[in-house]
Symmetry: C2
Subunit: 352 residues, 2 copies
DNA sequence: TTGTATGCGTTATCAT
DNA sequence: ATGATAACGCATACAA
């Protein structure tokens, strides 16, 4: 049942013009739904032969000629981190509404991947890119923007130059978690995190300290659990394992906290797992609060109380901003900061 | 801090030829790393001015001219179902190895979305598409294949016409789950599922019945739990809610099973949640086994025993097959069937 | 080794 | 209302 891998010649407007006994100009006009007037009969004739010849337009030709693109690039760190699919969904929803398609790439937090993808998108003539950049140095990106590329950044900030940004108030989220724990009567509140190598983690940590301060609780290094590890790997298992290690470290320490605030939900799940398998009850013995509000945090046992970071909304907004920037005649750079919110479930106990 | 939204003219090989005092042919030769010989000096001159002018090639021109594409299309039902990101990762890994990029789209199991995306990819001149099709009618797709498009299907089968396929033995997986439960001493084994509207679910159900038969256990409708619902929604919460409903239904019934086999992991999580919150202990009182082995099934409490469906490997293989089909001079259609495997964790108890 | 000229598939300008 | 033709940016056959 083989099939020759021959290159098959697709029908072009030229071929159709021939068969239909007209010109490429006319064919183009009817097939591209031009507003240009065409007679009923010839229109029908063209449409019919196009159908008969299985014609599909070659977008490359069109794009080359018109110098327009309905694609927008999206670069995320890793699709397998459940936060990002939600974000992508938000982007896609908004994009589709305006007739745009998205080109999605995973940088895996690798600078050279990121650069390669940006370059490739630019060469494919995308006019705009939504990205979570990992680079520190943005000379390259800046140059593209000077050449007309529109971008909107999220997650990490781009500080080298002016551009659109959607950010999230991680610090406020950190404070919010502490505030809530305190409102539930907790005073011995630990912070559990992977190494503070990312801005977002550092900002959450800042929020933690600020929250403590605000509530007149002294920060103690005894309650700072940072997972130590060989090499950070870009998947969920990694954070989960960190959580398990942290739970062990916690249980081995002299000073047990009553509440643990984890830098993200997956770490929180690891902590819960570690604690539970040592016979510690959650939230009866120790309370746990997470960060992010990924879909699965509602599905664990007990359901995880956490701080919501609006992934879908971030994506939707980022895309909205980009498209406005793309289609607007002129525009200023725009910067939004999204706010956290508390999602109460069952992993935090009222100890008052 | 506004910036005019002017259309900026990018440098082309023509511009460079002018500045460098040479021809577009020469410029093209050096800039596209052609094997064609060029003198040292002029080469350097061209490279320098290209650099100076911020030149980036327009891939549209190149693709149009060469009629080649390094893109492959990928259509999945929904990126927010954790199975698919893993699959995409597998595709991407293999694609990158061969210098291909992927164009990813979510069909949301909507026939018209699917068709639109296929069409759009085809018009962008992709030579190959990897897809999980939802359509029943593939005349459209078949026509494209006759016009040279290469495809490889996964998930659901395409039966209308010959093409490459990567399938998974859902039935064997279903049997495997039952076999395992039986080997752990279970005889009252329930099957929990969303409505059997998908081939994969039906095949797993077949496996369940076959497994029962093989072990001389009579099938009983009392142990068939199918969630009834208004409208199926494409997200995890939906399956989770189903699981909760099923748990309720189970507890309300006269004949309690000792083990429940769920059609997927998220449903299993819902079941566990429903059971646990009614005070039923897992696996002490009732055992639960899932299907899929998504990453999160290791993170719930108790960790879920499940049947592994190799998402990453499916993607990797699908991409490998496609690229071989694309680059091979001629080739037969290829069809692989991947096998399930058991992942033992802690949600099944030995009742012997 | 270099340059000229043509064509990829499309749209748009300008006559008619 | 229709058609001939140029142009988009690039690669290449061919001539030099």
């Amino acid at each position: 049942m083989g099939k020759q891998n021959q290159t098959i010649k697709k029908a072009t407007i030229y071929d159709i013009a021939q068969k239909a006994g007209t010109s490429t100009a006319t064919v183009s006009r009817v097939l591209s739904n031009s507003s240009y007037p065409t007679s009923r009969e010839i229109r029908k004739k063209v449409l019919d032969t196009a159908q008969k010849m299985n014609y599909t337009p070659n977008l490359l030709g069109r794009m080359l000629k018109k110098n327009e693109s309905r694609d927008i690039g999206v670069i995320i760190p890793n699709i397998s981190n459940p936060f990002y699919p939600q974000l992508v969904l938000g982007i896609e929803t908004e994009a589709k509404k305006h007739g745009f398609n998205i080109l999605l790439c995973n940088s895996f937090r690798d600078v050279s991947n990121e650069k390669k993808y940006i370059e490739s998108m630019y060469q494919k003539q995308v006019k705009g890119i939504i990205l979570s950049t990992i680079s520190e140095e943005h000379g390259f990106l800046k140059k593209l923007c000077e050449n007309g590329l529109k971008i909107v950044g999220f997650d990490q900030n781009i500080e080298d130059f002016q551009c659109n940004k959607i950010s999230f108030d991680f610090t406020a989220g950190g404070m919010m978690a502490v505030d809530y724990l305190v409102s539930m009567g907790h005073k011995k509140i630990a912070f559990a995190t992977s190494p503070l190598t990312r801005r977002s983690r550092r900002e959450i940590f800042d929020g933690y300290k600020l929250g403590l301060m605000k509530n007149n609780i002294e920060f103690s290094a005894d309650y700072l659990y940072v997972a130590e590890l060989e090499k950070e790997v870009e998947n969920g298992t990694f954070e989960f394992e960190n959580g398990i290690k942290i739970a062990r470290k916690c249980l081995a320490s002299k000073k047990l906290p009553t509440g643990i605030f984890a830098v993200n939900d997956v770490t929180a799940m690891g902590i819960m797992h570690g604690l539970l398998s040592s016979g510690v009850k959650i939230p009866e013995d120790i309370s746990v609060i997470g960060f992010d509000n990924i879909e699965f945090s509602a599905m664990v046992n007990p359901p995880l109380t956490t701080i919501n970071q609006p992934a879908f909304e971030t994506g939707r907004l980022a895309c909205k901003v980009l498209i406005e920037n793309l289609e607007g005649d002129e525009s200023d750079y725009v910067s939004f900061k999204l706010e956290p919110s508390l999602v109460q479930r069952e992993s935090v106990r009222n100890v008052k």
